[in-house]
C-alpha cells in the first residue's frame, strides 16, 4: 500500500483549559520511520493518543489508513511508556502479549490455538520466547520493552506507535532496539516519540519537533552536516542540556 497512512489537520487538544496540542498538522507516508522529539509535557504522548483515537481533539481532523482512528485502531500496534505499569501485576509475559489480540478475539471468546501461536511467534521475533511464563514484573527494562513490542506486533499491524521506547534501558540495548525497529520498518510504518535526540536521528528517516506546536523537518536534513547545524526546539535543548543543535532553525523563528 502506497501513500498517506496518517493525516492530522489543524488538531487542537485541550485538557481542563490547558492547550496541549496547538494546530498540529502532520502527514505520515507508508513505510516512513518518523521520529518526534520534544520536551516532557510537550504533547508527544497526547499526539500518539490522538492517532489511536484515545484522545478526541477539540478541533481538527484525524485520518488513519483512510478512516477514523477508532476504525483503524486494529491495524495499529501501540507501545506505551513503560513507567505506566504496576511491577507487581499478576500476569505472565504470554498473558501480556496475548492482550494484543483482544480486539481480534472479540468479547466472550477464549484465545484460540492460532492466537497462542501468533503470540509465540511475536515473542520469538523479540527473542523472548523462553521467558514466556515469567511474571512481567520480574523482567528487566529492556526485556519488558521487548514484551510490549511483541504485544504490539502480535496483531500484525500496519503502523507501529512507540512512546519513549528507550526511556528505561541501557545504551547497548537501545542500539539493539533501534536495529530491530529499522528491520521492522521494511514492512511497517513507524512513529516514535522520544526526548532522546541523540540516538533517534541516526535511525529515523524523518523527524519532527513537538512542543505544543509541531515543527516538521522532512527527511533531507538528517545528514552528518546538519547535525552540526543550527537548530533548537523551543525549550527542548535547554531543558536537556544538549550542547549542539541538531537540525535547522524552525521557519519564522
Amino acid at each position: 500500500m502506497d501513500g498517506e497512512v496518517i493525516r492530522l489537520e489543524d488538531v487542537w487538544v485541550q485538557y481542563n483549559g490547558v492547550t496541549v496540542l496547538e494546530g498540529v498538522s502532520l502527514s505520515v507516508q507508508n513505510l516512513d520511520f518518523l521520529g518526534i522529539i520534544g520536551p516532557n509535557g510537550g504533547g508527544k504522548t497526547t499526539l500518539l493518543k490522538v492517532i489511536l483515537g484515545l484522545v478526541k481533539p477539540n478541533r481538527g481532523k484525524v485520518t488513519v489508513l483512510g478512516g477514523s482512528p477508532e476504525k483503524s485502531r486494529r491495524f495499529i500496534g501501540y507501545v506505551p511508556q513503560i513507567t505506566h505499569f504496576d511491577r507487581e501485576f499478576p500476569a505472565t509475559v504470554l498473558d501480556v502479549v496475548l492482550m494484543g489480540l483482544l480486539g481480534r478475539k472479540g468479547l466472550l471468546r477464549r484465545y484460540t490455538e492460532e492466537d497462542r501461536k501468533a503470540a509465540y511467534k511475536a515473542l520469538e521475533s523479540m527473542e523472548m520466547l523462553e521467558l514466556k511464563d515469567r511474571q512481567v514484573g520480574k523482567l528487566s527494562g529492556g526485556e519488558l520493552q521487548r514484551v510490549l513490542l511483541a504485544r504490539a506486533l502480535v496483531s500484525d499491524p500496519k503502523i507501529l506507535l512507540l512512546d519513549e521506547p528507550t526511556a528505561s534501558i541501557d545504551e547497548p540495548t537501545k542500539t539493539q532496539l533501534y536495529e530491530l525497529l529499522k528491520d521492522l520498518n521494511r514492512r511497517i510504518t513507524i512513529v516514535l516519540v522520544s526526548h532522546d535526540i541523540g540516538v533517534i536521528s541516526a535511525y529515523v528517516d524523518k523527524i519532527a519537533c513537538l512542543n505544543r506546536r509541531l515543527f516538521y523537518h522532512g527527511s533531507k536534513e538528517i545528514t552528518a552536516e546538519t547535525i552540526e547545524e543550527t537548530y533548537r526546539c523551543p525549550i527542548e535543548l535547554i531543558a536537556h542540556g544538549v550542547p549542539h543543535r541538531v537540525l535547522k532553525r524552525h521557519e519564522g523563528e
Binding site: 505506566h84 501485576f89 499478576p90 500476569a91 498473558d95 501480556v96 492482550m99 477464549r110 496483531s155
Partner: protein
C-alpha cells in the same frame, strides 16, 4: 469440632461460609489488583439503603440490598465517566447517600427493626435457607461472568488505555466488574455484615498476592484462604461466644499480619 455440625444452624453457617468464600475469593482478587477496595467499600455501605427499604416496604432486606448494591455500582460507573468528579469524592458521596437513606427508611418502617445489627455486622449463625439459595445463585453468576470475561478483566486491570486501543469496550467491562462487586457484597453480607465486607474483599486476596503472581492462581488461593478464615472464625466464635463476623475479620487480620511478617523475614 465435628460435634458442632449436628446443629442445623451450624451446618447452614458452614455452607454459607463456603459459598461466600467462592465469590469473595474471586472478586476480591480483581478488586485488590484493580485497586478498587474503597469503591467496594462505597458500594457495600450504600447497600445499607436496601436494608432500610426492605424493612420499610416489608420484604426480605436481602433483595433490597441486592437492588441498592447494583444501583450504586452502576452509578459509580456512570459518575466515573460522565461527571467530572474524582473517584474519591464519588465514593464518599455514594457511601453516605445509601447509609442516610437506610437510616431514614428504617425509621419510617413500622415497629422495631429486629435484626438490623446482623445486616451491619453479620450473623452467619442465623442464615435462613433462602439466603443460601440466593448465595449459590449469585456465586454461579459470578463464576460464569468471570469465566466469560477473564481476558477482558485482566486487560483492564493491567492497562485500560491499551485495552481501549485494542478494541475492548473498557467502560462496559468495568461496569460489569462493579456489578459483580455488588453481587459479592450481597453474598458476604450475611457472613461479616455490610460494614465489614471490605475487610473480606481486601485481606484474603492481599495474602494470596503475597504468594502468587498469577491471576487464576491468586483467585483459587484466595477462595481457599477465605474458606479457612471463615471456618476458623466460626469455630472460635462458637468456642468463646464472640460475634462471628468480627471474629472472622480479626482472624483474617491476624493471619495477614503474620504472613506479612514472615514474608519480610524470609526476604
Amino acid at each position: 469440632m465435628l460435634e458442632i455440625l449436628q446443629y442445623e444452624f451450624m451446618r447452614n453457617a458452614l455452607i454459607a461460609g463456603l459459598l461466600a468464600s467462592v465469590a469473595c475469593g474471586i472478586i476480591g482478587v480483581l478488586v485488590v489488583v484493580k485497586r478498587m477496595v474503597s469503591i467496594s467499600g462505597g458500594i457495600s455501605h450504600a447497600a445499607f439503603g436496601g436494608v432500610g427499604l426492605g424493612y420499610f416496604l416489608g420484604f426480605d432486606p436481602v433483595f433490597g440490598v441486592l437492588f441498592f448494591a447494583v444501583v450504586s455500582a452502576l452509578s459509580m460507573g456512570m459518575l466515573r465517566e460522565r461527571v467530572r468528579l474524582s473517584e474519591d469524592a464519588a465514593v464518599g458521596i455514594l457511601w453516605v447517600t445509601g447509609m442516610a437513606l437506610g437510616v431514614i427508611f428504617v425509621g419510617l418502617a413500622p415497629g422495631y427493626a429486629p435484626d438490623l445489627f446482623s445486616y451491619l455486622f453479620g450473623s452467619i449463625l442465623t442464615v435462613p435457607f433462602l439466603d443460601l439459595v440466593v448465595m449459590a445463585v449469585l456465586d454461579a453468576v459470578i463464576i460464569l461472568v468471570v469465566l466469560l470475561l477473564y481476558e477482558e478483566f485482566m486487560a483492564i486491570l493491567f492497562d485500560e488505555e491499551f485495552a481501549t486501543a485494542s478494541g475492548v469496550p473498557v467502560k462496559r467491562v468495568y461496569t460489569v466488574l462493579l456489578s459483580l462487586v455488588a453481587l459479592t457484597v450481597v453474598v458476604l453480607m450475611r457472613i461479616v455484615g455490610l460494614v465489614l465486607v471490605i475487610a473480606m474483599l481486601a485481606i484474603p486476596s492481599t495474602i494470596a498476592w503475597q504468594f502468587s503472581h498469577r491471576l487464576k492462581e491468586m483467585m483459587i488461593l484466595s477462595v481457599i484462604i477465605t474458606a479457612v478464615f471463615t471456618v476458623e472464625g466460626l469455630w472460635l466464635s462458637y468456642l468463646f461466644d464472640l460475634a462471628s463476623g468480627a471474629t472472622i475479620v480479626l482472624v483474617s487480620l491476624a493471619t495477614f499480619l503474620l504472613s506479612s511478617t514472615l514474608k519480610k523475614v524470609s526476604r
